[in-house]
Amino acid sequence: MHILDIQNVRKSFGDNEVLKDISLTVDKGEVVSVIGPSGSGKSTFLRCATLLETMDSGTLRYMDEPVATMENGRIVYTKDLKKVRGYFGLVFQNFNLFPHYSVLKNVTDAPIHVQKRPKEEVRAQALELLDAMGLGDKANAYPCQLSGGQKQRVSIVRALAMNPEILFFDEPTSALDPELTGEVLKVIRQLAEQSMTMVIVTHEMAFAHAISDRVIFMDGGVIVEQGTPQELFEGTKKERTRQFLQNYQR
């Protein structure tokens, strides 16, 4: 069984074809990094997988359950999207925490009111997660009282509290000052060690190298190359990949 199985995704905005036949499967415990230049379609791809955009064509399955299928050349989404949304979590570049909710409520509200899980159980889990992320003393703070790195860690906890099968990250550290990047990357590394299944769009090449099982290089709406971090970062045969990576060599 694949956790995520997304095939032949096409997506255009007007005349701009952003995704040109992209496919990806992710298995349990895998950490997949997606790299590529700005405008290559990384975010759009993630947004298609997390149902924030509808694909023009393609198929999508979570846990072998069909979410989007092709019928007579037209894409059809399942009606029960609420259940599907329970399978994944998404961490945004800009956190998108709810400013009027305390940290604890940000984390517990959806598990309680969307998933209808028992309050006490959710609360206990949330406090434990916050603790593990070094936010034990922030449960009653409001997002505006937190640093960027803390906000991003809260938003990771918020996603984790839904008990997702897979977690997507869209440039989780790009909105952070360099000195705050480390604390967020550390948390993601922790998750990787706990075998959390993750797809991470990132510009942090060293980080992608260190934690990924597989790296995907996207450019111009296609997957140019994919492989182990060693294959991509150290032994790429593709000129385009080499060019891109050169910009990150220091």
Binding site: L51, R85, Y142, C144
Partner: protein, 218 residues
């Protein structure tokens, strides 16, 4: 008429002023939200009707709207309302007028909320109604509070327009007293002004408190 009697009568008439004010807010604050939803409706004719309604409410004098609502049913359609129609006509006119303004204020507030809030809610599985009630509405209320306060303060002063159709409220009363023989004359209007001013000071104070209470987040 002594000064005291005059003040007493104005104070008594102020009860009606306050009732017009309170009923208008009770009606117009929620109605404004409904108007906003009509304006955003996917049903095109409803959207058009709402556009026209809002532009008429904003483009014509409130005093005229009061007169239309008061006179048209009886003069044109020969409908007679039981009870104190003068009073209700004013309240209806105010509610309908202020709802249009509130709808526009709400629209500004709602549209200023980042798309990311909707996206985060969607990914977490919140339904449309849940997202609006739990995530969007509270933030909208906070952001629109200063503009709403302005409208509320204007409303206090606008209640005096009810005198156009002779509804008994404080300003109508003041006019009656001022022209009656051996009354304190112009002094009556001065006192009425003090009533409005003090009431608005209280309104401003209450709204500030609400704003402060919502300051627990940015």
């Amino acid at each position: 008429m002594t000064f005291q009697t005059m003040v007493g009568e104005l104070a008594y008439a102020f009860i009606n002023t306050f009732l017009i004010f309170a009923f208008t807010l009770l009606g117009a604050l929620p109605l404004g939200l409904i108007v906003y939803f009509c304006k955003k409706s996917r049903f095109l004719p409803l959207r058009w009707i709402t556009e026209v309604y809002i532009s008429v409410m904003r483009g014509t004098p409130l005093i005229l709207q009061i007169m239309v609502i008061y006179y048209v049913p009886s003069l044109v359609f020969e409908i007679t309302f039981p009870g104190n129609w003068r009073f209700y006509a004013v309240v209806v006119a105010f509610i309908v007028n202020y709802a249009a303004y509130f709808a526009e204020i709400y629209r500004g507030g709602i549209e200023s909320i980042e798309i990311g809030q909707y996206e985060a809610a969607q990914v977490l599985g919140y339904g449309k109604l849940q997202t609006f009630v739990k995530i969007i509405l509270p933030q909208m209320v906070k952001r629109t509070l200063p503009a709403v306060t302005n409208e509320v303060i204007t409303l206090v002063k606008d209640t005096s327009l009810a005198s156009a159709i002779g509804t008994i409220e404080m300003f109508t009363k003041a006019k009656q007293i001022a022209v009656s023989p051996r009354s304190p004359g112009m002094m009556t209007f001065l006192v009425a002004g003090v009533f409005y001013y003090v009431f608005n000071a209280i309104v401003a104070f209450v709204m500030k408190r609400i704003e402060k209470a919502l300051n627990y987040y940015q």
